[in-house]
Amino acid sequence: MLFESGGITENLDGFDQLSWQGGWINASRPDTGEKATLGPSQNPVGLQQLPGVSYGMTHQPTYNPMQAKAPAPPGTGLYPSGPYQPVHPVSSYQPGPPLSSYPAPSGQALLTRPLMGGPPSHTPPQSASPGPRLPPAQATPPPPAVSSSSYYPNPRQPQPMAPAWHYNTAPPPMGQPTSMSIPPRGPVPNHVNPAASSTPSSTPYSSAPPAHVPHSVTQPPGPGMPPTSLHGYTQPGPAPPPMTHMAPHTYQPSRAPYGPPPTGPPPTMKPTPPPTGTLMPNATPPPPKADAQCGGAVNSTLPPTEPDCQEGDIECPGTVAGNGPQAPNSYNHVDNKMAGLPQPGPPGRHLGHYPSLPPGYQNTSALHNAGPPMHPAMQAATQPYTQPPQTYQQPPGGPGPAQLSQSLAALSLQSSTPESLRVVNLLQERNLLPPNPMPAPTPCLPQDLQKINCNPEVFRSTLTSIPQTQSLLNKAKMPLGLLLHPFKDLSQLPVVTSSTIVRCRSCRTYINPFVNFLDQRRWKCNLCYRVNDVPEEFMYNPVSRSYGEPHKRPEVQNATIEFIAPSEYMLRPPQPAVYLFILDVSHNAVETGYLNVFCQSLLDNINALPGDSRTKVGFITFDSTIHFYNLQEGLSQPQMLIVSDIEDIFLPTPDSLLVNLNECKELVQDLLKSLPNLFEKTMETQSALGSALQAAFKLLSPTGGRMSIFQTQLPNLGVGALQSREDPNQRASAKDIQHLSPATDFYKKLALDCSGQQVAVDLFLLSSQYCDLASLGCISRYSAGSVYYYPSYHHQHNPAQVECFQKDLKRYLTRKIGFEAVMRIRCTKGLSIHTFHGNFFVRSTDLLSLPNVNPDAGFAVQMSIEENLDDMQVVSFQAALLYTSSKGERRIRVHTLCLPVVNSLADIFAGADVQAITGLLACMAVDRSATASLSDARDAMTNAAIDSLTSYRQSVLTIQQPGLLAPACLRLFPLFILALLKQKAFRTGTSTRLDDRLFAMCQLKYQPLVYALLMIHPALYRVDDLTDEGALNINDRTIPQPRVLQLSVEKLSREAAFLMDAGTVMYLWIGRNCHPNFLTQVLGVPNYAAVPDNLYLLPELDTAESQRTRAFIGWLRDQRPFFPSLHVIRDESQLKPTFMQNMIEDRTESALSYYEFLLHLQQQISK
């Protein structure tokens, strides 16, 4: 059932390997009620399809608000395209009893948000400051305001108690003491409940803290963060009078602790005894075990106890902030204390919070407990489980703990609850984005293993904890896969030369750091568990020059290593570097003026082409005929040979078309200098690309090498001719997009021939018209090439593109390259890889044929679990890339990744890597769009989010609360999915050219994860107030580090300037009232009106501001191998709509806002 097509099939016709496995996604039309799932591939098809509700919920696009169960905000109903209708929801909402379940978002909130479009609703921490952007610091509104300002104003305060209660799971009932007494969650009765009940003394107090806590959103306290609006909750207009008052207090306390950057290392346990007596009692009953355990980073509110440091510890020494089951209690304490603290910070910052409780409670609590500052402890608690603080930047403040407690309670886990499992109510927490780029989660491995584990930039898994069985994986409904960047440029790479490479005799795994040495003479393979002998040679360690310590060898000390291959790894002598350039010289091409740029770039970099004295180059140009260039040594000038018989192409002189670069450099240079002029007057408009490719293939097939095609129009002559398939009127269609798959298999077949002869084809498409990238792209896709696309390229009209082309070309020509490569990915017995994503051809089930490999190529694979991984603590994955360097050395680069195996759903969720999941889903969705339809792919992505959150809710959370709950590690999942839906590749309803869309799809599959993520979810920075605070220092350059802002118009302000980094392009948006200082010091213009329309370069001014801005942009650019062009835009600019389309969290005519999307998800989940 699982994978009908499971294996990768290699039949020539089909190449299904690239397609999604059948089982994987069943997308279906909304009307039918079936659902499209991107879920784990393994899901049996049958299951999903059967009932509409395969995963327990059906996905219905059209939502009827009225029907919605209680809390669900109705707005979402028309998810797909329907306009949002706030009104209904509201009305229904308020009256509805549902409250209990869904306290937070009030009807108003809903209304406000969508309607407002923005700014006011979100950002302003306080309702008070509606302004779109509040400077974070300033933002802090008056305390009272805070409470009232709720992000989603609570319409109904009265109810708070009940709902809150549920909501938080936190034991303390909101309003009333009585409620408190009730144990909220069954599993952990002791902890929470008792505490709550026990604290009689200050009813308000006790109750308050808990309630409070849960609500509080974890927001990074950082100054940058505008206060999260969430607060508002408590304060619903009517009820709160007292509360409001109080509220401030509470916040303050909590804040104070926060004030310090959350990121700081978690204060290791700070057992400060809870000051308040009341607290103590709570805590006492169950010893807070968890906390203590992991390395001490625990918050031990409960000083004494930590009797049991049982679990967890080992695995995550130090890092973890343990949250024992009891945690709740402790948290409470913390909270209280926090409250008590003096708070420097403005209350506003706290944002995180939305008190579900009546304000009064909160206040009281605050007042009562003024304890020693717990915050360290708190922070510890809040800290991410495995990682250093920054990762999940949560705000340490009071909220953190509360939530933890909540999750703890819910989970009823005995072991410490990882931070990544902290329950986050997405509907209430707004500021989820980390202020800095998010690091990859660290697998929960013993430290000695983790220390040597593979760098996540190279090798990353969607689940850092591998489920023990397939059924468990199916339950989790998350895709299992790996993302690789195997040929990444590495600054440090150990290289081993030895005559024998030690490998497992049965599965051929390379020896790696995760094998077991049974004794000096034998090692046990970590993939197949065979016991192998250690060869004599391996006993000697060349590094330490010692004998008898095989485990000290570099192979066993490095997860990433490169071997110089002995001759057994060569089928033929290593090939020379061969570069063949195929240039379009039709009228259209000459018009764009790209030839000049190309020839100049190649002239400039001709000595930097990777290679040795054997390097060969050749040139072919074509329009309606094919032109070859004889560059043989001894000629006084290049000879052009024209072949006009394009039906039966042949090589005029086989020997002298590809020439040794060193020996014929002058001829080559002559040719490059004269080429742009040769065709200046051409009137030939046709393009016989297919024949040119065939000729090039003939030329390269004896040696293999790289073919670079520069094409500027639709090929329309001879073999491989294409027709225009795009209907401009359909660009904005919300219906299905057609023509996403190739029109002819000519290019694919040719690519396969190329692949067989070790020829890779790179495609540069510089075009203003439709070029059918869907068909042309195949030539690169199956030959492991890369695709570059410059829409509307013109040497005069589009200088930004020209610069971009130049920079890309430079990188392209000079980057490292590996020839005649193959890559094999192995994994521990029991796991199997069934689908690969990227550009390559799958030669046998697990062998990827890569005629060329370059450092900018990423790959992804999907895996399934075929046999239960019962007795295994860890599993390993190994990617081995065998290639010939440009110097003629045969090398093998081996990466090994080790991950723990877990058997509980909670642990699986705790290890989820939301970035990797997003990356993998994007790849799967691209395949899905080609094989099924775009709407299937979109549904499947939405369902992926719904399924995993449903699964989390049903299987991990033991207490059902209202709201859209997600573990902290997946808190960005819905946002990323929404971003994908709005990404060029998958969006509907917005005018998108077919080629743009297809290029975006290529990029999603081909780009390494880091870059793909930026394309999916651009980063927004405010750049008019860059400071050196927190700046990086690299090579004596100071690089400011502004925080990442949410992609919402509300974050923009007319008084500021913002930089949006969308991976391949950057926008610098200048607000109308931008501070003149910025205009003059950075842009070098006197006022706003003087900002030129087509500014794509920042002037190099000698001012601190200019230097900072340029340093920051330069730093962003340096981090990626391609060159993002920069566009300075104003309100009037043509590019403004493009800029605004990236405001993912906002609503557009055809797509939901983030909040609406969340409501949609919630509605599907609670169905």
């Binding site: 030369t497 060569m570 033929r572 002598p573 020379p576 040795d612 040794n660 045969r890």
Partner: protein, 215 residues
């Protein structure tokens, strides 16, 4: 035309440089020839004849061993032998000049792959029929080429194998004879016991007979 040139270190058969030229028709066979060439490089040792021509179907392997380096050339059988050895001599002198000293120290295969460029150029000058005439005079001194040993590639490659087969047979034989010996010993002992038993029975019977009937 198809040709294959390999330069390898004799001591361990490590390939040092190579050059391949194939035409479209013979591409398939080339893989076979390549692997034969590799095996051949491994088989050669200091005791091998310095110059030799090995027949392999309609192609011939020619090799020359000098200063611990083997120069192997594969070409059509019709190609004149003296031309081949002139070409190999040429390669040798140039290769020895450029890399001779480093040969014993390298460990990586194809360390001198850049020599490929020279190989190709030289080969072209020898193979090209026009320039061949010019070289004719130089090569007269190589008349003794006729005396170069000719053998069949299969024989050479299998020579080692038949030896090892012989070795296996011999060891089998010795194993069998050992077994026979132990079996024979065992049988001997058994028969000895049987004889002793028979004799003792006889004597006992005799004694009893004498004891009861005679007395």
């Amino acid at each position: 035309m198809t040709s294959l040139t390999i330069i390898a270190r004799v001591a361990d058969g490590l390939p040092l440089a190579a050059s391949i030229q194939e035409d479209e028709q013979s591409g398939r066979d080339l893989q076979l020839y390549q692997s034969q060439a590799k095996q051949l490089c491994r088989k050669l040792n200091a005791q091998s004849p310095d110059r030799c021509t090995l027949e392999a179907g309609d192609m011939n392997f020619h090799y020359l061993i000098a200063k611990g380096v083997c120069y192997l050339f594969l070409c059509e059988a019709s190609f004149p032998k003296k031309m081949v050895f002139a070409y190999l001599e040429d390669l040798h002198s140039e290769f020895y000049d450029q890399y001779g000293r480093r040969v014993p120290t390298v460990t990586r295969p194809y360390s001198f792959i850049e020599f490929d460029t020279y190989i190709q150029k030289t080969k072209k000058s020898y193979i090209d029929s026009r320039s061949r005439r010019n070289l004719g005079s130089i090569n007269t001194e190589l008349q003794d080429v006729q005396r170069i040993m000719v053998a069949n590639i299969e024989e050479v490659l299998q020579r080692g194998e038949s030896l090892s087969a012989l070795d296996t047979k011999a060891s089998n034989l010795s194993g069998l004879s050992k077994k026979y010996r132990s079996d024979a010993k065992y049988l001997n002992t058994r028969s000895a016991y049987a004889k002793v038993a028979a004799v003792s029975v006889f004597f006992i019977t005799l004694i009893i007979y004498v004891r009861f009937w005679w007395l």
